[in-house]
């Protein structure tokens, strides 16, 4: 069950948030419960200690204020929460979100943030609850996602969900290296297409001497000029000898 924690130094705001969440859970009949509502970060962290004593695992949805009027602020609180609950959903409720956006995204990996005093404050809270609920449930289903793991340099490895990979390409500027593309990123690592082709599942297809492409990510296939277009706009050539096979795969 997903547990909800609210920590906010302003009691008026605190109860406002609690009321909305309570109502929403009741109306939608969601499988969630409010575990902690209060102003003190220490008490919230205490909850984890209690759970650990009972060796329970917590996955929670946290609404945290940044300015807690206390010796730790919301960001370091979130950081501590992450140590206990790495998969939890953290939402910041703050008056000044703009100056912490990157920290939310990269440091805390917060799910969302809500700006206090905005008109649609209540709507946003409901959205967050709904989002966390659906993600939590889909996470249980999708626990079986496969990752592609590769080594960047000595001892440092990266793993990427195979569903996010667009294509592999042999590197032109560095021999024996491959480039791996997702929609948003690119990495280079040492390897050969031949070897990784064996590791990958059937969604990946060797369409050219220097490409392996994720079939799910092809947006356009032009069998006349022998080219495919991918989600990120990249256009790749397809070799003559693979074109027929690719055609069949695309139909299927």
């Amino acid at each position: 069950m997903l547990k909800i924690f609210i920590c906010e130094d302003n009691t008026e705001h605190l109860h406002n948030i609690q009321k909305h969440i309570d109502n929403y859970i009741l109306i939608e009949d969601l499988d969630m419960e409010i575990a902690y509502v209060g102003t003190s970060p220490q008490q919230l962290l205490q909850y984890f200690d209690d759970c650990e004593r009972k060796s329970e695992k917590v996955t929670g949805l946290y609404f945290l204020d940044i300015d807690l009027n206390c010796d730790i602020d919301g960001i370091s609180l979130a950081d501590k929460i992450r140590q206990h609950d790495p998969r939890g959903f953290i939402v910041f409720v703050t008056a000044d979100a703009k100056s912490h956006l990157l920290t939310f995204e990269y440091k805390i990996e917060a799910m969302d943030y809500i700006v206090k005093g905005e008109d649609n404050f209540n709507v946003r809270i409901r959205e967050c609850v709904k989002n966390a609920h659906s993600r939590y449930n889909s996470k249980i289903i999708n626990a079986l996602q496969t990752n592609f793991v590769f080594e960047l340099s000595k001892g440092h490895t990266i793993s990427i969900d195979t569903a996010n990979i667009l294509y592999f390409e042999t590197s032109q500027d560095k021999p024996h290296n491959l480039n791996i593309y997702t929609k948003e990123t690119k990495h280079q690592f040492r390897g050969s297409l031949k070897v990784i082709a064996k590791k990958l599942d059937k969604n990946f297809f060797r369409c050219h001497r220097s490409y392996i492409v994720n079939i799910k990510k092809i947006t356009m296939f032009d069998s006349i000029v022998h080219q495919i277009t991918l989600e990120n706009g990249a256009v790749l050539d397809v070799s003559d000898k693979y074109i027929k096979e690719l055609k069949n795969l695309m139909r299927a």
Partner: protein
């Protein structure tokens, strides 16, 4: 350099000594084809030794094309030039020597570095060193010829060991002086490098030239007295040494260049630091001004309170209290957050660049949620260069936007230190285009910044750059991988 220098001496030197001996044998047996074949094989050996040593010393991975080209030129020069000249042209072997030595130096210099400017320098100083060596050689040769001529004229046929020894000593002394003063002369001319490095080049040259002199004395013995086996051996060893020191002289320049470059960067960092300090100073004046204003305002309020005028207080408060005016969150207080970055050089480059962005009217958000202090000092210069380029790019990208926003985050996570720079942009470039050489959105001839970044990243296994593009934001993540703790082997996610 010390270990590598020894390798250079041993590997290339001995191969070269071998080759020159063979060359001498060839000179006496012009036109014997099988000797050429042997000679050719030895040359190939030397070229191979060369290749190995140069790769080791310069730590430059060459592209295949260039390597093959260099090796081919070397082999052709070394084999064909003497072959042709001896067989068909009958040119003086000294001239051949000069020609192919110079070609040799040029090709050698091409091995040493990727940077064309450094190659040019290497060629210049390599040729210079070679010319000095050759000059020393011919001077000595002339002197030796001259003395022996006198000896012959005077009909002193017996080469008394003492006579020859004293002659040799005088000649060596003269040559030592010549090369020493050449070295000094050079030292005076090489202004752009610092003293230690100048001395290094000159000393290599000095030792090399001295060895040349000794070598020639031995050689004269060889030519004029008897071809004795031990003397040949001594000659070969000397040849190796001489050649080794020649290469040493050239490499000390490659080194020099690198160090000069580092020096320049340090200067740049110092300049950044100055900008930062002045920014801090401005800030403190701002704070003083603010406090002063505050007291004035409170005094003003006191007037209303004294006469119990609540409405007046209210009006006054909302009208004048600076806390409630947005503008007072001035630019400088934002730079305050950077105090969490404890590495001076990095802090200074970030602050000066971001300050510049603020002055241009860009909205800048700086986030450093925790102290960043354990960056390996070896990386600092490289990180500074990369961050400088990235922030410059961000500034340039946002220059023409109506609402320009640049965000900067530095944090630590799973054994990595992150520097994240994000900016909004009108039409973000495609990810697969950026990595192409010389890619730029800024027009012809630009786009060297990202190239430089790419070269730095290639050199450093511990630096990693990930570029991420959303619809209208461009995010660059620079990761500094810290040494891993034991027992922390599982694969980690780099957040995508």
């Amino acid at each position: 350099m010390r270990v590598k220098g020894a390798r250079v001496l041993a590997g290339v030197g001995s191969a070269h000594g071998f080759k020159v001996l063979m060359f001498n044998v060839l000179m006496f047996n012009k036109g014997v084809i099988w000797l050429f074949v042997v000679y050719g094989l030895i040359v190939l050996l030397e070229v191979f030794a060369f290749y190995i040593t140069f790769i080791n010393v310069s730590r430059v991975k060459l592209e295949i094309v260039r390597t093959v080209l260099c090796l081919a030129i070397l082999a052709v020069t070394l084999v064909l030039v003497p072959y042709l000249s001896f067989l068909y042209l009958a040119i003086n072997e000294n001239i051949i020597g000069i020609i192919y030595h110079i070609i040799f130096v040029v090709v050698m210099a091409m091995f040493t570095h990727k940077n064309i400017q450094i190659i040019r320098l290497n060629i210049f100083y390599g040729v210079l060193a070679k010319v000095i060596f050759l000059l020393a050689r011919y001077t000595v040769a002339a002197m030796v010829n001259f003395t022996f001529a006198i000896i012959t004229i005077d009909n002193v046929i017996a080469f008394h060991p003492f006579v020859t020894l004293s002659y040799s000593t005088v000649i060596v002394a003269i040559c030592y002086l010549i090369s020493k003063y050449t070295g000094k002369f050079l030292q005076a001319r090489l202004v752009q490098f610092d003293d230690v490095l100048k001395r290094k080049f000159a000393s290599y040259l000095l030792v090399g030239a001295s060895i040349t002199c000794v070598m020639l004395v031995v050689a004269t013995f060889l030519y004029y007295i008897v071809a004795e086996a031990t003397l040949f051996a001594v000659y070969a060893i000397l040849l190796s040494l001489q050649f080794g020191f020649l290469i040493g002289a050239i490499f000390s320049f490659t080194d020099n260049f690198k160090k000069a470059e580092e020096l320049r960067h340090k200067d740049e960092m110092l300049a950044n630091l100055k900008t930062y300090t002045s920014a801090i100073e401005n800030m403190s004046t701002d704070v003083r001004k603010f406090r002063h204003d505050h007291i004035n305002l409170l005094v003003g309020m006191k007037g209303y309170i004294d006469v119990d005028d609540m409405d007046g207080v209210r009006e006054y408060f909302y009208k004048y209290m600076p806390v409630f005016k947005k503008e007072t969150a001035t630019l400088d207080s934002r730079l305050d957050i950077l105090a969490n970055i404890k590495t001076m050089g990095i802090k200074s480059i970030i602050s000066s660049k971001l300050l510049y962005a603020i002055q241009l009217g860009t909205e800048v958000y700086i986030e450093v949620p925790e102290p960043i202090d354990d960056i390996d000092t070896n990386h600092i210069v490289d990180i500074c260069r990369i961050l400088g380029t990235l922030i410059d790019n961000a500034i340039e990208a946002t220059l023409e936007l109506e609402t320009a926003t640049i965000r900067f985050l530095s944090m630590r996570k799973d054994n990595k230190i992150f520097f994240i720079i994000s900016n909004n942009c009108k039409k973000p470039p495609k990810l697969f285009e950026i990595s192409q050489k010389g890619f730029t959105t800024k027009g012809e001839g630009r786009g060297t910044g990202l190239d430089t970044v790419a070269t730095i990243l290639e050199k450093n296994e511990n630096l990693l750059l990930v570029t991420k593009i959303n619809e209208d934001t461009f995010i660059q993540k620079l990761m500094v991988l810290l040494p891993k703790n034991e027992g922390d082997r599982h694969a980690e996610n780099i957040y995508l």
